[in-house]
Assembly symmetry: C2
Homo-oligomer: 423 residues x 2
Amino acid sequence: MENGMPQQITDAGRLSEQYPNSVGEIQDRSYRCRQEPGLMTVHGHSTTRRAWGKGPPDSRSDVIDFVRSSYLGLDNHPAIVAGAIEAIEAHRSLHWPRGRTRLNFDLLEELEELLAEIFRARIRVFSSGMLANLSAMLVLASGQLTGGKKPVVVFDQYAHISLAYQKPVVAEGTRMATIAHNDIDALERMCREYPVVAYVCDGVYSVGGCSPIMKLRQLQERYGLFLYIDDAHGISIFGHQGEGFARSQFPQALGDRTIIAASLAKGFGASGGVLMLGAADHEALFRRNSIPYALSMAPNLAAVGAALGSCKIHCSAELGQRQRRLAQRIDLFDRRIATAEQGNSLPTRTITIGSEANAVAIARELLDCGFYTLVKLCPAVGRGSAGIRLRITAQHELRDIEQLCDSTLKQIVKTTGKPYPLR
Amino acid sequence: MENGMPQQITDAGRLSEQYPNSVGEIQDRSYRCRQEPGLMTVHGHSTTRRAWGKGPPDSRSDVIDFVRSSYLGLDNHPAIVAGAIEAIEAHRSLHWPRGRTRLNFDLLEELEELLAEIFRARIRVFSSGMLANLSAMLVLASGQLTGGKKPVVVFDQYAHISLAYQKPVVAEGTRMATIAHNDIDALERMCREYPVVAYVCDGVYSVGGCSPIMKLRQLQERYGLFLYIDDAHGISIFGHQGEGFARSQFPQALGDRTIIAASLAKGFGASGGVLMLGAADHEALFRRNSIPYALSMAPNLAAVGAALGSCKIHCSAELGQRQRRLAQRIDLFDRRIATAEQGNSLPTRTITIGSEANAVAIARELLDCGFYTLVKLCPAVGRGSAGIRLRITAQHELRDIEQLCDSTLKQIVKTTGKPYPLR
């Protein structure tokens, strides 16, 4: 850092040296993952997965999954499954109707209208959150979201990999920087230094924690900061209609300095991604004629049908019931095991163990006990801070949480020789 | 070009100036598309789409679609639709089973085994062709596919946008260049100049035409050239089991210097993308623990179920019947309208009109006549070479082709005052 400014400001065409080198990560990850077969391992923002048990289905064990991100337990909801099947049956296709049929997108239009009500924003739907982010980063770098003036695009260090991956492409079009996680002071210095700044971050971070939305809004009001917030992990679990962690902290109108991205595949229980937009001209930019078709593809019919089923749940009393169930389970966990995230009402918890070897050993024991968890390794965390990460959902039974906590505390003693919390 | 070498060779970290500026393309596209509402317009490798007709469904016209890329007409095949529904019903979810169920990927394993037989290669399945390409470009740039030595990655100028979009990321990891379309001489000069070269191209190009696979194989044998071929538009329509345009021109074993990418969403009639790999260690690289999870996601259950249904068709006599139907329709078109692609057995045809205004006017008239076609504009083609592009499928009736040809020839005279072919 020089004069309090991050050293990563790049001119268009010169790449930042500070952002994750995706290619280097791949090499590192490949080596490390060969050492921990059978477990879910986390490197930075990426996860890996292995089937538990090979051989005939009868020989495999059932485990309780604390890895999935279907936070409200919606992904196997009968209404959502029925929605997917209905859409395929009605069109007799997995894809949009072609050939001697009408070229229309009725179901997609219906979905976008319902989502517009739920999220209180203009909506564009994409086949995945990744493609929504990819398209948005292209358009952001072009300056068209900021009145024709190319912004300095500032990434939070922990921004999701589907955003971080776009850094070379963003750097191709405009200046780009990365700042330390949630470093609001550094962001404010950028706002004072440059006339047009855009900040790219998550709402709820998949690694745990969240953005300080109110402080970001203050910077927006003071400096006109443009906010791009990927709230994939905050959708459905917050907000009266499940509009999400980020959206629920903005006023009625989103405005023309904010875009919130959301996944329909996590808390929402369906498939696909959306952009919540606050301005008519932003919506026009994301019409399918402005984005390469390969990027702007709509979700397939099954996904749209599933999402329509989920919309109905989001407009019913069941949403609140599931949100409260989730809150109850998070609270139960917090009363049994203390973590840095204690009390933050988010569904991700990380139990710090210390050495990677111990973390891996404990996760393996937990799997044998019937609990599937994530292992959080370097370089995502500092050396000596490896841990067990898990996601709590509304679908877990209270006894699942109790038994997980019991097993975890027991395995920590057995593996490390010391009780939790470890010092 | 200097000394016959393209000037775009970059050192790691310095971006090529010659590849398409994706951000600039977005700005250009947005402006141009506002001028041609209601039509499918093509800019380079990207397409846009509008619904035909707003208002209640009854008020809209049926049109015959010559834009879809379901070349064998499989996307609404009952076996494929049934496969999608069965998979969702069996698991009561759109997603992989979680919670109190077995953590396994039976259906996905079954799909990969069937695809391995059809494509005669080791297989990794991805949720889309785009993500398959994205993952592969990451790994290619790292050098892990070329014995640990980073290759100079050479892109064909017309490589699909989902590959071209990765150029900044590839340039981050290794040297990168773009050569003119199918310029085998330039590619050979690169092979002589650099010890490790990888060529990235399409098998069948979405814009028409194809790669000279046999010449590429000669370069591979002579110089060890690594070949990455995206055959999304060649799958199913070529090969005894629909293994595709590229795969059918390689011997029994694919070898460790070739990867062929395929879409399961076009000729194949389902959803998702695959990589065909020839080496066990390449397959290991693409295991889900080597690629960020966000990129390596498997297709959802409906897509896997649909693909399983399509595999059965590919292993039956019906595949050959559909391939022959397609060939018959292409031949009929070629007997009525002469194009540069005449006789090349690929399903894409481009009718050169000349001025963009005329091309747009003719496409609009064709739409009014009930035929949905693509308008091919600059900068995809040279100025004065705008045209109508269309895709022929096995599902078109012979009279559809005849009537399309009649209407096209008539509209050309009406709009330009001259008969086709226009000089």
